[in-house]
Structures are given as structure tokens and as C-alpha cells.
Symmetry: C2
Subunit: 392 residues, 2 copies
């Protein structure tokens, strides 16, 4: 086991009707003048935004707004939010939405108190030393951003999608999580979220670190549980307990619990970020394409953990079979799971492009990385190209 | 699933040599003048106390001391600590030890800023609204107090052992956790800690709440993992990874993770507290006596979760067997596990008393409780007496 720091200070307020506590929570964490960040119509149409505003009003908290945040959020909206927040003297950023909204809110939160360009923190030219507090009302369980110290923003100039991690600065103060708010999510978004949260665990699970059987056991349990509940949700999108288990799993998948003591490997995410930046596909849908391709490639060089995943997570019976066979069946079972929740595992089908521009993907990836990518199997650029080809 | 709040803001700094970071952490969390609370000789003999003091010195942090804290810590030492802290103008309490030391530190921390008698918070006459920050250097993984919002103190007058939970006030700011510090723990203490942490999960696991399969799956995984690593430690007390997994499991067992969304039932702890208060036995050893007796009793009235524990945690093969048989085998397997780590499951053997005073135990329990005890099966006083008899 490796040394680690586990720091997850967010207060998670979970369950029915919890959104009405938002104002109280903002107040408890020091907010008096709030920038409310949200996306499109659904939080307005559902009445959620009104409920949140009423709870702010009830505490005498004033607010301004930044709306229309879209998936794969871009730096221009962060600049806009920073300007509004400064002009309005905002002391708290409240994200009402999913990962894109939360990540935008986090970018604004570290940008406001900084003299320079907030992008310095994403291009790794600087490290944030101050942040406005961020609170979350979660509507899409997927990114885990409500409990993570991460933020992913795409720079419009060049379409570079960059993920950063500043655990001491970027963890939200609180996250309100009502599973009922996710009943109306389109099935495609629910499915993409499920792939994303499973992948947040996979990126921690596939590791050469030994002696971490507790962390790995928890990771396996959560992955199995999400897959089971995904199938229940497909049958009945209004199954409260299935929604609740999936929503909570999304947080645990990315708050650090599943990586404690391990060297992590975020290659599938990095490979996918190039696809969603270039072709503007949903991140989770992109992962359903990239993860099996990545597993297929690395299993040839370093099979042990892929085999373990096949047996312990996908439930492949290993007795009397070669490792190659167990691994192949495990990857097929994972693909079958993705198909069962109506996602494709083909990049062609995902992008609608007969010949996705692998050269451009690798070139952009190369601009954002060092000599090799990842740790479980360090990947050369040629390896990455091969993985993209396997994903076609 | 029930609504819940999960709030675990402690920064866990885990791994080899982490104790040398203590001074830095105290400083980060605002400590300038520290009361160092510890137990007996082992932290002195091992050189740990010197290392901790050197790291405080290096940061220019001054300190005073309260030493000699014993198992089942008592209110007199809390009063003493409060007096020292006030006299010396202390702004931070640092616990170097296990649950008894940490719980004493927590009592001092909420006592110092309070005008009245700190015991008001344990007798539930008052609720703490302020606390000095507490930091921990953990030497005994067992109580989970390094990550919990709980404290257990025994009032010498009447020997009432009272557990309180104030999650917003009592969670330590940080916990330094080096598994190597536990190599020299006597096996009996290691074993008692193992029983205690498993029981912290059991008290959350045995519940009538449905739709919590994620929380339950995590709980089952951690319980199985602790049992496996306990047997590895018996073979080799210096197995770093086994020590590390057990140490981290002790935290996860009691930081709330295993109870999220559930109605918990702390009956076994309450039943045990009376034994350790009256006969001054180790808490973990008392639990090894009480848990199987409690399970035996409640399984007759409400079998479902005891059966699930038998199958999913103890690995009992259920096919072709009656529920009664599965449950009986599960409880026997749990007892066999306790015996395998050299603990007794007999109250007579534990206390060395031929006829433990069950009437006195129930009377004291009654003084500390309402009409019934617990939720999985609400227990009358007569039920509690029967459980004590089953434990003889």
C-alpha cells in the first residue's frame, strides 16, 4: 500500500426534499451574496430553481445568476462568471446541476480571488491558494464533482479539455443530493452517468499497487452495485432506491475512497477527453467506447488486474479457463453491459464519422501529456493510436 | 433508504513516517499552543512522543501535557485537562494514542469553551456549540474515534459509561495514521480492536431499512476484509499491508460510511458498556461476548438480516438449509472467528466472575435508556437480561 491523504470535507445532505435546505446550508458556510450557476431549461421547468431561490430568500441571501452552462463546459463561461461575481461582490458560488455546472462553478471560485488568468490553474502555470466557497444542488449523478477536488474545463481556443485536481481548494462545502431530482433525466444521460462513475472507479482499480485489498474490495462492490441498479433503473426510472444507490455511488466513486493507497491511472479518461473535445460527444458515451479498447490493449501487456476485474466485478467463472479466455469474457461482459444500457462501444457509431481522425486525437493528446500516458501500462503515442483503432 | 447527512471532514494522513508531519498539520489547523494528551509508557518508550514533540518544536508550536489516560477513560481526567488547557491558554488539543485518549481529548475540547460542567454534554443536558480543534496521532486502530463525531466517557460517580455523538463538533481536524506504529501492540489489544471495528459496522448493518444495498455491500466487504487481515496479523504482526488495511478499516467502520441511509441499532455497544464499566474489561473483549448473544436473541424475532450476515459475511452456504440452520451456523462461525483471535465469547470467562451481576447490569442500563433498547428488535429490560444470560 502507498501512503495517501484522504480528505473529503464536503457535507453531503442526501434524500427527499433536501433542496429546500439549500439556503440554510449556504448561510452556514458563510454565503451572503451568491452567484447561482446552472444549465438549461430542466432546472427551471421542474421548479427546482424556484425552490432553491425561495430557500435563499428565506435566509435573506441575495443572488445573481449565470445560466446556460452546457456539457463539456468551456472557459468563456468561466471568464463570464468571474466578471459577474466580481462586479456583484459575490462571496459564494452555488452550482445547481451536474458535473459541467459544478466544474464551471469551481473554475469561477478559484478565478475570482486570483489576479491573473484563471486558466493558469488548468494549464498548470499556477496553483490556486484561495477559493470562494462552492455549494452544490446535484441534478445529474455522474461526474462526482459534488465531492471531488477536480474540475474539467475545455479551452475554446484549440479545444483542449483539461482536468485538474486541487483537493484542498476545489471540494464543495456542501452537496444537496435528492435522488427524486434525477427521475426526469433522459435515459441516455442516466446511462452516460453510470458509465462515468464506474470508470472513475476503474481508473483507480487498474493499478500495480499491491496490499490494497480493502480499497479494491470496496471498489468492486460499488462497481457491481452500480451495474445492478442501472438495470433496475432501465426497468423503472422512478425506482427511488435504485436512483439513490446510483446517486450515492457516483459520489463515492470519485471522492477518493476507491483509490486510497493506490497509484491511479487515468488513461481512459484522457483518451476520451480528446474524443469529446473534438466530436462533442457525451463524456460517458465516449468512455463506453474507450474503456473496453483500453482494457483489451493493456491486458496483453499486464493481464493480472484485468483478469481480477473480469472475475470479481463481471462475475466471470474462471475455473478451467485460461487467463486470456477469462479476460476476453470479462471485456465482452462489460461491453454487453454497456449495450444493455443502450450505449455503443464503437467510436464510428458514437461519432457518426466513418473515419474518426485518429491522428488529430493523438496529436491533441500528445500536446496535453508527457512522454507516456498512464501507469498500469505506460502508453506511447503509438499505443494510444492503437487503442483508438481498437475502439473504432 | 432513509435521508442522511454524511459529513467526514477529517484530513486523514495515512502511511509510513506520517507522524513527522504532525507539527505541520497542527499549524495548518490553527494550533499555536497545544495540549498533548496521551496514555502510558508505550508512546514514550517507542520514541513516538519525542518525534511528535520535535515536529511541534520545528513549527514553533508550544505545548503542555496530560498523560496517563487509561482504557475506559473517566471524567476526572477530562476535568483535569480542561483546567490545564484554560490555565495554559491552549488553542488546540492533540491526542496521541487510541480511542480512550482521543475521547478524553474530545471531552476537553468541548469543555474548555463552555461555562458550565462539560458533563452536561454527556448527560444530554446541553449541546456543545463550540469546540477547540482536535488532532490525532493514532496508535490503536479500534474505536474509530479519529474519524467519528463520537466520544465515550465514564463518570466515576456511579460508573456510568456514556457515549455521545456531536458530528459537527467532535470530528478531529486531522488524523495521522501510520500502520507501523501498531506493530508493537500486544496481540490482545489488536484482537480487541478488530472486534470493536467489526461491531461498529454490525451496529449499522443490523437494520430494518430496505433499499440500502450499496451501503450494505460496502459494510459486508469491510467486515470480511477485517476478518481476513486479522488472521494474517495473527501469523505475522509486522505485516504492513495487513496492519494498514485493518487500520483504515477501523476508520471507515465508524466515520458513518457504513450506516448511510440506515436506521442504526447500537444495542450491543450499550449492553457491553455496562460490562466494561462494572467489571473494567476491555471494550472489544466485551463485545465478543455480547454480539453473538444479541444476535442469537434477535434472530428468533427478526431473522432476515442475521441470515444475510451469515451468508454474505461469514460465507455460510445456504442451499438446502433452513433459515434457522443458516443463522445458527453464521453465529457459530462468528464465535469461531473470535476464538481464532484468542478471545472468549463467555461473560463468565471474560470477567472471571462465576455469577456476573446481571441485575446490576440491567439496572444500570435501565438508568441510561428509554423504555426499550434498539430498533432492529426493540428490547425490553427482560430481553436485555435474557441476552446477558445467553452471554454467560
Amino acid at each position: 500500500m502507498e501512503n495517501f491523504v484522504f480528505y473529503s470535507p464536503t457535507e453531503f445532505v442526501f434524500g427527499r426534499d433536501t433542496q429546500s435546505q439549500t439556503g440554510e446550508l449556504v448561510k452556514r458556510y458563510g454565503g451572503r451574496r451568491v452567484l447561482v450557476v446552472y444549465g438549461g431549461g430542466s432546472v427551471v421547468r421542474s421548479g427546482l430553481l424556484d425552490t432553491v431561490k425561495a430557500s435563499l430568500d428565506a435566509e435573506g441571501i441575495t443572488y445573481c445568476e449565470l445560466s446556460g452552462i452546457r456539457p463539456n463546459p468551456t472557459d468563456d463561461r468561466v471568464y463570464e462568471g468571474i466578471e459577474i461575481a466580481r462586479k456583484e461582490g459575490v462571496d459564494f458560488i452555488l452550482a445547481v446541476g451536474g458535473g459541467s455546472v459544478i466544474d464551471t462553478a469551481k473554475g469561477i471560485a478559484i478565478g475570482v480571488p486570483y489576479d491573473g488568468d484563471f486558466w493558469d490553474f488548468y494549464s498548470k502555470k499556477g496553483v490556486p491558494t484561495a477559493s470562494l466557497p462552492v455549494g452544490v444542488v446535484l441534478t445529474i449523478p455522474a461526474a462526482g464533482s459534488e465531492g471531488s477536488g477536480n474540475s474539467v474545463i475545455t479551452k475554446l481556443d484549440g479545444m483542449h479539455k483539461i482536468s485538474v485536481r486541487y483537493p484542498m481548494m476545489l471540494r464543495p462545502r456542501f452537496a444537496v443530493m435528492n435522488p427524486e431530482l434525477t427521475y426526469t433525466l433522459p435515459w441516455f444521460q442516466t446511462a452516460c452517468g453510470i458509465v462515468d462513475m464506474i470508470c472513475h472507479i476503474q481508473e483507480r482499480y487498474f493499478s500495480n499497487t499491491t496490499g490494497v485489498d480493502l480499497t479494491d474490495g470496496i471498489a468492486e462492490t460499488i462497481m457491481r452495485n452500480v451495474m445492478q441498479n442501472a438495470l433496475r433503473l432501465k426497468e423503472n426510472p422512478n425506482d427511488y432506491d435504485a436512483r439513490a444507490n446510483v446517486m450515492w455511488a457516483g459520489t463515492l466513486a470519485h471522492n477518493g475512497l476507491c483509490g486510497n493507497g493506490k497509484v491511479e491511472d487515468w488513461s481512459s479518461h484522457r483518451l476520451e477527453h480528446e474524443i469529446s473535445a473534438l466530436y462533442d460527444v457525451a463524456h460517458g458515451a465516449g468512455l463506453a467506447v474507450m474503456v473496453p479498447a483500453w482494457m483489451t490493449f493493456v491486458a496483453k501487456k499486464n493481464p493480472h488486474k484485468v483478469r481480477e476485474f473480469a472475475v470479481k466485478v463481471m462475475g466471470i467463472e474462471a475455473e478451467g479457463k485460461s487467463d486470456e479466455m477469462v479476460i476476453a469474457e470479462g471485456i465482452e461482459a462489460l461491453k454487453a453491459f454497456y449495450h444493455s444500457i443502450d450505449l455503443t462501444t464503437s467510436m464510428r457509431e458514437l461519432t457518426g464519422v466513418e473515419n474518426p481522425d485518429i491522428e488529430a486525437l493523438v496529436k491533441s493528446l500528445n500536446g496535453n501529456m508527457g512522454d507516456t500516458l498512464g501507469f498500469y501500462v505506460p502508453l506511447s503515442m503509438e499505443d494510444c493510436a492503437e487503442i483508438y483503432r481498437l475502439a473504432l
